[in-house]
Amino acid sequence: MDAGQIKVFLDGATRYFVETVGSKAEVGSPYLIDDARSVAGEFTGAIGISGRHRGTVYFTADRALLMLLMKEVGEQNMTRENMLDLVGDVANTISGNARNHFGNDFMISVPTLIYGQDALHLPKGIKSYALPVVWKGYRASVIVVIENLD
């Protein structure tokens, strides 16, 4: 992936928080990671990518950020299931918006929901970029693991 392609996901993460709750998240510089241990949160949503590109887009966060985000959108039922549902929705939104850049053959799957920091394993053989997100003092990450098949 080049810088312009990674910026698509940086912009997507920024837009999610601004549009959804009206407050900006700070999205830091992307960096390469070998495994998910350093960035994995308790809850992760993963969107599979197929078409001319192949890979996965993850959004991973801890309980504190998700509880605050749910509170901001008026969700009072702060169960594990809803927190998983929420990370899946963030990953879906960032991935779906990316079609504006990558084109309509950038196909996205329904979310796969992953509970537990140790349960997140990244695909091997494709570069994995972590995009750090800080919102109201709480950390999360978008992880982009995509290769172009052209």
């Binding site: 549009e19 809803n82 918006n97 079609r99 799957s109």
Partner: protein
Amino acid sequence: MSFFSREGKTTAAPKVYRMLIVDDSNIIRGRIERGQHHAQIEVVGAAANGVQALAMARDLKPDVVTMDITMPEMDGIECVKQILKINPNLLILVVSAMNDQSMVLQALHAGAHGFLGKPFNDASLNRALSELLK
């Protein structure tokens, strides 16, 4: 971002529109139900996939549907086509993160009347619903 087509709209709309929410995300179903404040809309049900939506469309007889696209069992584009066979006068607002031009056109071609891109907030949701009911 939202887009609208006037084709297929009824002229004799009921005073209160019965709305069915279709989305595989419980969070999004809740956000739409809580966030919509249109005086003419009453939420009558929520479905988690296209198959459920078709059954609920038969049972609950909604006038308005909000429709996700990426769902298990049956995707939203297919569901738009199928649900219009049950009630050709349904007003359908597609709500999706896939807000690129080709997907918007695909949704409108399938028979949807409006498109609300994600991420959305209460204000953009209510603007989209108001446009849908005009």
